[in-house]
Symmetry: C2
């Protein structure tokens, strides 16, 4: 089926567009396979608004009498059908826009097209496969790094760690990349056996090597011990090899102890003290899945509340629990970093599947400990390693945002929660991170709807099968081009070798207004100020050089 | 009675000082008539902490066993009385510091001295009368402006307004300055009669002239209509003269309609429609007095809560209602500015006494409308006019902060609420105000305890009688010296002629963390970043000039 089959009305004139921070404007609305295009009709101007259909989370239609619409005096030659329709479009970037469309039929056609086209989930039909800007050519190398590069950059670990290509054809673990870092003493056969003992085949792999003391962060999924407390010698051997030469290691289980116990009933489980006697298990319950999505929905609803009641706002904010989730994530990441940096122990992180909370806290812990992750490039490479390559199922998790009613079961704003936590770090350490808030905002937008292929699919295997790396542009590479780099760098950046320990006191954590209230006048003014600082620094650089 | 009568122990050695953001340190504690002085004993360093006794809001003593104290190994020559005392000092600048004092007697003596000396309220014995820094000499002119200067600067209003010295000996209104601006057509005899009809003699005076349209803001206290609906022809005449040539004026009453009605029972009242037929009364209930003080106490308690529970924090924040008061103040000020700037009408503001909420909203409205008030000098002059000269009773309102148990009836943090509201403006319009957050923090500190005479006494008359202007230094003048000016200016300032309309949506208003959480690591890091921006701008200025 072609896009055009879904488009009965491709053009409507005399449409009124209302969007935040702009006065209403009248013009022509066009719908294509991937976009809504609105062109303003005023003389002398040619302002256009281009909206990716994928960015649309929910739409609502309503009919209203023409005389009640914004432009009350009808000009000559205007179709006076007696009624017009209004489509309210709620975007995944939290924008809410409204289109007043003359004529009921046009309105119904347009809304039908939007409903259908914005939900198409066949990846090769998505816009990144069609996006071919003049100033970009498809690169031979897609992305910033690869497991191979990551490994080769860390010569210090070559002694005890090796790069295994046991997963080269994705058969051992469908959601892992083809190459992973494991203890040298563990051969590929052992890995295959361990993979069978871990949910989804996600056997323990190295994700971070702490240069200061040689300790590591490993991540995996839960062991499949089941109700019968099944053991896997190879799994025990692998973990033993991780802490070779050290007295013990920690396992941070991102579930409560009770959740971990219950997981055994459905085939999952945890590393028992008796079988992994040199590993100490710490349980930290992190919210995930549906509960996290519900939390986001409540928060977005609260942010959109137009009542002027301060108590109501604060109580809704509390009720959403979003800031509690931010707090838990940052404090669990702090615990992880403490184990590695302060106590000098290696840590294995997992919860259930090892594709969400585990990535969240390992990423944050790396930002806390490693100055290399805090540069613009370093941060993007970290995201690529720990989220894109490590198999966070972006397609499932980010299918809808907070407005959609057609809720599937797999959505969860884990990546958005990460960005929020990073923003909290950024705010608490305004000099220590090399990137700007604008980067976090851009990523929060792109992960839900993008011209680029970076956040398509659920894992590396899918991306290979569908040719994402050959047929789409990579967002991370684009963000590092000279012009973009200026926008996404932190003008106040002063690298520090020290760990940046975030305060997780409730008083220290704030709503990420720049994101959740981004379409307000207030956010626009704050952006202006950021812009001002940036210009000052650039100007200063120029004057200093001349 | 001399200060020395209150000091039994003037010096104690081996005292351990614990204060926020610093490691504990050991040294000598000295107490003088106005200060606590702590000198660190470490070799090579001579760090001192000087604390104004007036800055102390509350102290708590406790006895503890020496072995449980921070420095557990006792050095040679140390008095081992077996017990030591700990004094916890809660300051009006929200700092909480702790002194471990060896020997119970010393501890009791010190705490007794602090308790007595920090509460002395005889103005001429206060520190500003003794403060004589080498780099400052007592000025012939105290302060930045005077009613005379204010009047002479606004030539445009000379037609219809005159400077009256009816209050030259403070006999007409004890809390007004000697000169005030009133309609030209109203003579001093009339003013004397009006003063008798207004609480505390605070007859309507001009506080702001809007150059764009010639409209004005007047302020006063409530009319003394009483239960019998008494009238005062002269009062009606005065208000009539204010709106001469215009169709109507507004009265913004900072009380609810019910409160205004009830005020009649105790001799107060409001301007009835029948007697003031060209004035439209708008009621906006603003919290004041004790309720406001309670709100501050709850907020400060919440900020000091060390529990890690996010819900508890948000619910305590809501419960304190402080942000609701911020919202009400800003929205009432917005209403006032709208009347003047958008609707083009003159406004009279009053509540009960006309010394608190009226000043709060007239000050905020002037910041919103008048770019002249947004420069560093302009803002300080505004504060001097609208608070110091206009008779805000600083001595009564700011006698205690949020920790004191010895609560009097007159305390109320109205000026702090003003600074918080200004901070909200500053945050929403980061480019439009010429001063920095550091200025607001400095003012919030100085108003409760200061080396300067600016915030002493309750009104101009008291200051004259006690010789404040001859015998103390003026804070506002000091803040404008070249070095200070750098610190208190906004490096991003870009003057705009436009009104700055604050958003008063609950989502747009934030806790003023820089103040309420100022003694945390977080605040320190944010200050560092501000410093960085400042340095960059100064550096840029130098390079550009060379």
């Amino acid at each position: 089926m072609e896009f055009s089959d879904h488009i009965k009305t491709a053009n409507v004139e005399d449409v009124v567009l209302r969007q935040p921070l702009h006065p209403p404007s009248r013009g022509t609305l066009c719908i294509t396979g991937h976009h809504l295009l609105f062109s303003e009709r005023e003389e002398g101007t040619s302002r256009q608004v281009l909206l990716l259909l994928k960015n649309i989370d929910a739409i609502e239609k309503s009919v209203e009498n023409l005389s009640a619409s914004f432009f009350s005096s009808a000009g000559p030659g205007k179709r006076m059908s007696g009624s017009s329709g209004t489509i309210t479009i709620k975007c995944k970037d939290l924008r809410v826009i409204q289109l007043d469309i003359p004529g009921m039929e046009q309105c119904l056609n347009i809304s039908h097209s939007i409903e259908t086209l914005s939900c198409l989930d066949h990846v090769p039909k998505m816009y990144p496969f069609f996006y071919r800007p003049a100033d970009l050519s498809l690169q031979s190398h897609w992305g910033l790094s690869s497991p191979e590069m990551h490994y080769s950059q860390m010569k210090q670990l070559h002694n005890r760690w090796r790069l295994s290509s046991v997963n080269r054809d994705y058969s051992v673990c469908p959601s892992y990349p083809p190459a992973v870092i494991v203890p040298s003493s563990i051969d590929d056969d052992t890995l295959r056996k361990v993979a069978k003992f871990r949910q989804g085949g996600r056997f323990p792999v190295l994700c971070y090597y702490h240069r200061k003391n040689g300790m590591v962060i490993m991540r995996s999924s839960q062991p499949l011990t089941g109700a019968n407390r099944k053991r896997c010698k190879e799994d025990e051997l692998l973990l033993q090899a991780v802490i070779e030469g050290s007295d013990k290691g920690y396992i941070i289980d991102t579930r409560s102890s009770q959740q971990a116990q219950q997981a055994r009933m459905t085939g999952g489980g945890f590393e028992s003290k008796s079988c992994y006697d040199r590993w100490k298990r710490l349980h930290r319950q992190m919210e995930r899945g549906k509960a996290l999505q519900e939390s986001l929905i409540k928060l977005v609803e609260a942010c959109g509340d137009e009542s002027h009641n301060m108590d109501r706002w604060l109580s809704k904010l509390e009720n959403s629990k979003w800031l509690s989730h931010v707090q838990t994530a940052l404090s669990t990441a702090g615990l992880l970093a403490e184990c590695v940096e302060r106590d000098g122990h290696s840590v294995l992180v997992h919860g259930f599947e090892g594709t969400d909370s585990s990535l969240l806290i390992s990423t944050l812990a790396q930002l806390i400990m490693d100055p290399r992750c805090r540069t613009l490039e370093g941060f993007l490479a970290l995201l690529e390693r720990e989220w894109v390559q490590a198999g966070h199922p972006f397609q499932q998790r980010c299918a809808h945002m907070a407005y959609s009613h057609a809720r599937l079961q797999q959505e969860s704003p884990v990546f958005l929660l990460l960005l929020d936590c990073v923003w909290q770090l950024w705010r608490q350490f305004p000099l220590a991170l090399g990137f700007s808030e604008a980067l976090l905002l851009r990523l929060a937008t792109e992960v839900y709807a993008s011209d680029y292929g970076t956040f398509l699919c659920n894992n590396d295997q899918d991306r290979c099968v569908l040719g994402v790396k050959d047929k789409t542009h990579c967002l991370f590479q684009v963000l590092l081009r000279p012009g973009d780099r200026d926008i996404y760098s932190n003008p106040l950046y002063e690298p520090t070798e020290l760990a940046i320990w975030p305060s997780v006191h409730p008083q220290s954590l704030q709503l990420w207004r720049g994101y959740f209230l981004r379409w307000t006048e207030e956010a626009r003014l704050l952006e202006e100020a950021q812009e001002e600082i940036r210009n000052m620094v650039i100007e200063w650089g120029r004057v200093a050089l001349s």
